[in-house]
Each structure stands twice: as structure tokens, then as C-alpha cells.
């Protein structure tokens, strides 16, 4: 980002018009041509009006009946989902990425539900780090999370243990802006007390939320101080247009009145919108780049170079040249393929062996049965033979006896 030199440095008076006063315009024109990117993350339990607020902030239907917001899709574990939308206004193009965390804080046991969020933020920083370290850096998309809106439930008491835990873990990774959700639940007095209590607890736990930078302009500083007094911002979202006193406003219709979204007396929505989009979007990106990203980068690089031995997951990604890295990747890939091939061959061999064995076994079985049957038959045959012999014997005996009887009879007849 471009900063003018401080005024106390010696200023030379120019003798004529040089023309570099036109520099900001050139920067402006180039930026407009390039377009802008902004990634906004929303975190909070389901039912706190996150989707409605996003729709209200950017006046688009990012979430609608066809593509319902995260709360309408019940999730068993915390997911991190992103949706991109291209918004154009006055010739300026903004690629807005909204990152949702459905399922956050919704389970009975919410331990570590912040881990997927941390992983996401870290992975985007890592992507950027790798892109930065590449040889060819022509297109470097910036998908880092520039701002995290954390939704606090309007209990009126204080922060919940989950709120404290989450903010403590994320305040040095991303710009955290806490918001009081569904602020139309609270009366003005309750809201004041609630805000005071939250800020007190934030200080107690040493949570570093996003701080608005002081400018040199006194007027701006006054505004900034006013915003700071209102933190955390109490917001109400709605895209429903209602007529109040002849005017069309966005709001929520109750039997006792209409809560107007853009009315400063009713809630801090306009403050949030102005701050997020109209005045501090660039600063959020700068802080992300200069503070949070640098934090991440130095931690990552220190881990790699410190021991000489790589302690990070990705091996030697930053100490080798990209070409060598590509070569290594290719080799790894080839080896992996070979290994897979070998494994598949092994499996194949094993299966063939198994099949052969099975066939052998069934053959043996058949043999055995054949033998068995043969023996049975032989036994039966012998048996029959035996029986026949016995029968023959008997027959012979009987015939012999008959013959004797016949002989006796003949003898008798001879006698008489």
C-alpha cells in the first residue's frame, strides 16, 4: 500500500508543476482495472442470523430458498464452505468470498470445533506462501481470510466458554470482529451492559480483536473513537422491506413495532457495513497481509530452517528450487506407481495360487470319492460272490440230497 512520507521531512518547494500529484489517480485506475478481492469468514452457532446478515450487508441473495444458508443444512461435524460472488458497483469489481462454518458449536460436545476453522485459515496462508515462493508468480490469487465475523448469542450475560476459547485461538491468525447477533432481543440498557461485560471479558482473557487504526485526521479519529465505543457491534439483519411512516425501510415487523436495520438508534448495522465495506476493507486486507500472514510465514519458515531437519509436513518445499521439486515429485509419483503395480501383481499371484489350490483340492476330493465308490462296489461284488457261492453250495447239497433220496427211492423200488 502506498503511504505518503511524513510531513516533518524536509519538503522541497517545486518551481513548476511536475505532475506526480497524478500518481494516486494512476494507482486508482490500475486497481480498478484489476478488481478487488475480499474474503470474509462468518463463525457462530446456527440460528444466529449469519446468512441473513451476509445477505443484508451485500444486498445480494447469497443464501436463498434454492441455496439455503448453513443453518438449514444440518451438519454432524463442523464443515468449512466457501461461496464466491462477483459484485460490480460504479465500475469497480469485487470478488467476494464468503466462508461459512456450518455445524460450529451445534453439537453436544464441541471440543475442538475450532480446529477445522484454524486448518482452513492456515491452508490459505500456506497456499499464498507457496504461490509467493514460486518461480512463475504471474497470477497470485489472494484467498487468505481477511476478516472473521464472530457471532455472539444475545444472552445478555457475557461470553460463553466456547466464545472465549475460539477467539483466543484465532486472534493471532485472522482479524476477529465480534458481533452481537439478533440484537433486537435486547433493550438499549441491556445492550449497553452486555457490551461492557463482553469488552471486560475480552480484556481479561487478553483477546486481541481487530483494532481500528488511528489516522492523522482529527475528524476521522473522532468517528473511529465513536465506533470503538460501540464495540462489539450489535447487529440485526433483514432483507424484507417494510413501509414505516411512508418510507420503505428494511426491517423486522413485530406486533409492537418495526425494528429497522439501517436505523442507528435501533442497531449498529450501518456502522458495521460502513466500517467493513466503505472505510476499512483495505485496512483489513493490509493487516492480514502485514501482520497475520507474516506471523504465519515466519513461524513456518523458522520451523523448517531451525533444525536443519524439516519438521513441517511438506518436505523441503521452500529450500529447493521449483524444478528440483518437480523432479522429485515426479520421481515420487513414479515410485508410487511402481509400488502400486507391485502390490497388484502380488495380489494377483496370491489369487491365482488360491484358485489352483482350490482346484487341486476338489480334484483330490473327487479322486477320493471315486476310490470310495470303487471299493464299495468291490465289496458289494465280493459279497454277492459269497452269497452266490453259498447259494451254489446249498444248491449242490440240495441236489445231492435229492439224488440220494432218488437213489434210495429207486433202491426201495428195486427191492420191492
Amino acid at each position: 500500500s502506498f503511504r505518503f512520507p511524513p510531513l516533518h521531512e524536509t519538503q522541497r518547494n517545486l518551481e513548476g508543476y511536475v505532475g506526480f500529484a497524478n500518481l494516486p489517480n494512476q494507482v486508482y485506475r490500475k486497481s480498478v482495472k484489476r478488481g478487488f478481492e475480499f474474503t470474509l469468514m462468518v463463525v457462530g452457532e446456527s440460528g444466529l442470523g449469519k446468512s441473513t446478515l451476509i445477505n443484508s450487508l451485500f444486498l445480494t441473495d447469497l443464501y436463498s430458498k434454492d441455496y439455503p444458508g448453513p443453518s438449514q443444512r444440518i451438519k454432524k461435524t463442523v464443515q468449512v464452505e466457501q461461496s464466491k460472488v462477483l459484485i460490480k458497483e460504479g465500475g469497480v469489481q469485487l470478488t467476494l468470498t464468503i466462508v461459512d462454518t456450518p455445524g460450529f458449536g451445534d453439537a453436544v460436545d464441541n471440543s475442538n470445533c475450532w480446529q477445522p476453522v484454524i486448518n482452513y485459515i492456515d491452508s490459505k496462508c500456506e497456499d499464498f506462501l507457496n504461490a509467493e515462493s514460486r518461480v512463475n508468480r504471474r497470477s497470485m490469487p489472494d484467498n487468505r481470510v481477511h476478516c472473521c465475523l464472530y457471532f455472539i448469542a444475545p444472552s445478555g450475560h457475557g461470553l460463553k466458554p466456547l466464545d472465549i476459547e475460539f477467539m483466543k485461538r484465532l486472534h493471532d491468525k485472522v482479524n476477529v470482529i465480534p458481533l452481537i447477533a439478533k440484537a433486537d432481543t435486547l433493550t438499549p440498557e441491556e445492550c449497553q451492559l452486555f457490551k461492557k461485560q463482553i469488552m471486560k471479558e475480552i480484556q481479561e482473557h487478553k483477546i486481541k480483536i481487530y483494532e481500528f487504526p488511528d489516522t492523522e485526521d482529527d475528524e476521522d479519529n473522532k468517528l473511529i473513537r465513536k465506533i470503538k465505543e460501540k464495540m462489539p457491534l450489535a447487529v440485526v439483519g433483514s432483507n424484507v422491506v417494510i413501509e414505516v411512516n411512508g418510507k420503505k425501510v428494511r426491517g423486522r415487523q413485530y406486533p409492537w413495532g418495526v425494528a429497522e436495520v439501517e436505523n442507528g438508534e435501533h442497531c449498529d448495522f450501518t456502522v458495521l457495513r460502513n466500517m467493513l465495506i466503505r472505510t476499512h476493507m483495505q485496512d483489513l486486507k493490509d493487516v492480514t497481509n502485514n501482520v497475520h500472514y507474516e506471523n504465519y510465514r515466519s513461524k513456518k519458515l523458522a520451523a523448517v530452517t531451525c533444525n536443519g531437519v524439516d519438521t513441517t509436513k511438506t518436505k523441503g518445499q521452500l529450500t529447493k528450487s521449483p524444478l528440483a521439486q518437480m523432479e522429485e515429485e515426479r520421481r515420487e509419483h513414479v515410485m508410487k506407481m511402481k509400488k502400486m503395480e507391485a502390490e497388484m501383481e502380488q495380489v494377483f499371484e496370491m489369487k491365482v495360487k488360491e484358485k489352483k489350490q482350490k482346484l487341486k483340492d476338489s480334484e483330490a476330493e473327487l479322486e477320493r470319492r471315486h476310490e470310495q465308490m470303487k471299493r464299495n462296489l468291490e465289496a458289494q461284488y465280493k459279497d454277492l460272490e459269497e452269497k452266490r457261492r453259498v447259494f451254489e453250495d446249498e444248491k449242490n447239497n440240495w441236489e445231492a440230497q435229492q439224488r440220494i433220496l432218488e437213489q434210495q427211492k429207486l433202491d426201495k423200488e428195486k427191492f420191492f
Partner: protein
């Protein structure tokens, strides 16, 4: 008086006896002895439980009687804190005990946070059972059993949370659960209707029966009355102990920048319905269902488990069989 009274067998009595004065006698007795009512409130912190109880009984009866104590730390485990008051109206004395459950649902890990509550409810049943089983019993057994458990549902507008389902599933068989939608001034009327429908459907699909339970409807009249109530439940309530002037009337309400939410206005919220239901029509029924059904279930289980109980004498020299 003067109408022929028909006796049970269908025979006409020959004069006025005065059996119907028994109702008056019961009323006199009740007024003299007064009665007890124990109500438990469950829900994670910040849902307006204490405020609602104060509003219901029009007096500072909850644990946090001095408005809401913002700087009270959330306890690390669920605690059971009960506070008793004697309130009187029209000559009738009521000993009201409010049982609060701070810490429920407030931790990061809320597994089993319903157990201390379940334990407390069973402990009260146990106390009563021990007294009942004594040889020399007290004239009136002190009744600390939980007659009604008001469960506060967070007004997300979407569905019930997992914790809500778990709690109600596990406790709907030991206590009368009355679910209410807390801080109902968060939702517009349409959002409220949709939310209620979704909640009722979810409860039905999971087989969770809240009070008044369908199976305990005595007769057709009861059933039709209770059906109407069941169709409106869970009641969307708003509580407040502050008064404001609206149309020359003093009303309990909440003053926002866009209007005053009137607690007792049926167009604004269903607090009046809850109060009438809880106190003016079903108070006695809550006690009866607790005594005849929940307590009996507990008692039967205990006796079956032990294979029979011997009554114990009050001097406690014998070991209890319990």
C-alpha cells in the same frame, strides 16, 4: 337443593343429604393445609429463566432475585440450586420451590450434563419412597418431587439443538416436561409459527412426549382441551419484571427503541397462556401425574430391583433394605 338426588344404583334418594358439600370441605381443608409445588427450570444461561419464573409468580422467587446477576460466573459443572418461598393468594397458601440448574449446556463439552438433573429428580423420588415405606409415617409426607420441568428452547428459528433432543428424550419419562420458546421477542409472528411447527414435528418424530402427554388424557373432554393446548405448544414466552405505561395502563413489558413488548398481551407473546395453563388450570394435574405416574414408575422399578422392601422404623436401628 330440593332436586331429587340419584344414587349410584339408580335409586332416587328421598331427600337432600348433602354429599355435594364434600367439595366445600375439601376446599376448606386445602386452604388450611396449603400445598406444595416444585418447579424446575432448565436451559442454558441467558435464556431468561429467572426472569420468567419471577414473572410467572409475580414476585421475586427465583434464585437471582435482584434482576439478572451478570457477573456471576458460569459454573464448571451443572449445579442444582433450589429456593423456596411461601406465597399466599385468596387465603390459599402455596409453598413454591424453584429449582434452578446453572451450568446446563454452557460448557464447550456438554456430554452428560443432564445427569445431575436426572439424579436430583430420582433423589426426590427416593426421599418420598423412603418416607412412604416407613412403619411410622409422618402425617404429611413432605413433597419435594419435581412436579414440572420447564425446558427453555433457544429461539434460533431453525430447529431444536442436539442438546435439547438429548435432554428431553432422557427425562420425559421421569418428569413432566413443558418446553417453552424463550425470548420470543426475537422472532416475528411468522417465524414463530414456522419454528413451532418444526419443533413439534421433530419432537413427534423422536417419540418425545411433553406434558400434557397424550396417553394420560382421562376422557374426551380432557383430550379435546389438551389437544388444543398441545397444538399451541411450545409456548413462545417473554418475561419481564419491569412495568411501563401503555395506553394509560401499567403493563409488564420490555421497552425497545421501536416499541414496548407487552408480556401479558396475547398478540405479543404467549406468556399469559403459559401462566393460565401452568397455574390456573393444570397445576393440580401436574402434581397428580407426577404422583400417579412418574413416581409410581420409579417406585415399581425400585421394588422390582430389590425383590421387595421391608418397612424401616424411624429410629433407624435396622439397616434399610433400600
Amino acid at each position: 337443593i330440593g332436586n331429587p338426588v340419584v344414587g349410584c344404583g339408580g335409586s332416587t334418594l328421598l331427600g337432600y343429604i348433602g354429599i355435594d358439600t364434600i367439595i366445600e370441605q375439601m376446599r376448606k381443608k386445602t386452604m388450611k393445609t396449603g400445598f406444595e409445588f416444585n418447579i424446575m427450570v432448565v436451559g442454558h444461561s441467558g435464556l431468561g429463566k429467572s426472569t420468567l419464573v419471577n414473572t410467572l409468580f409475580k414476585s421475586q422467587v427465583s434464585r437471582k432475585s435482584a434482576g439478572w446477576a451478570r457477573d456471576e460466573k458460569i459454573p464448571k459443572t451443572v449445579e442444582i440450586k433450589s429456593v423456596s418461598h411461601v406465597i399466599e393468594e385468596g387465603g390459599v397458601k402455596m409453598k413454591l420451590t424453584v429449582v434452578d440448574t446453572p451450568g446446563f449446556g454452557d460448557q464447550i463439552n456438554n456430554d452428560n450434563c443432564w445427569e445431575p438433573i436426572s439424579k436430583y429428580i430420582n433423589e426426590q423420588f427416593e426421599k418420598f419412597l423412603k418416607e412412604e415405606v416407613n412403619i411410622t409415617r409422618k402425617k404429611r409426607i413432605p413433597d419435594t418431587r419435581v412436579h414440572c420441568c420447564i425446558y427453555f428452547i433457544s429461539p434460533t428459528g431453525h430447529t431444536l439443538r442436539q442438546l435439547d433432543m438429548e435432554f428431553m428424550k432422557r427425562l420425559s419419562h421421569s418428569v413432566n416436561i413443558i418446553p417453552v420458546i424463550a425470548k420470543a421477542d426475537t422472532m416475528t409472528i411468522e417465524e414463530r409459527q414456522e419454528f413451532k411447527q418444526r419443533v413439534r414435528k421433530e419432537l413427534e418424530m423422536s417419540g418425545i412426549e411433553f406434558y400434557p402427554q397424550k396417553e394420560f388424557d382421562d376422557d374426551m373432554e380432557d383430550k379435546s382441551d389438551n389437544d388444543k393446548i398441545r397444538e399451541t405448544m411450545p409456548f413462545a414466552v417473554v418475561g419481564s419484571d419491569k412495568e411501563y405505561q401503555v395506553n394509560n395502563k401499567r403493563v409488564l413489558g420490555r421497552k425497545t427503541a421501536w416499541g414496548i413488548v407487552e408480556v401479558e398481551n396475547p398478540n405479543h407473546c404467549e406468556f399469559a397462556q403459559l401462566r393460565d395453563f401452568l397455574i390456573r388450570s393444570h397445576l393440580q394435574d401436574l402434581k397428580e401425574v407426577t404422583h400417579n405416574i412418574h413416581y409410581e414408575t420409579y417406585r415399581a422399578k425400585r421394588l422390582n430391583d430389590n425383590g421387595g422392601l421391608h418397612p424401616i422404623s424411624t429410629n433407624g436401628t435396622h439397616d434399610s433394605n433400600l
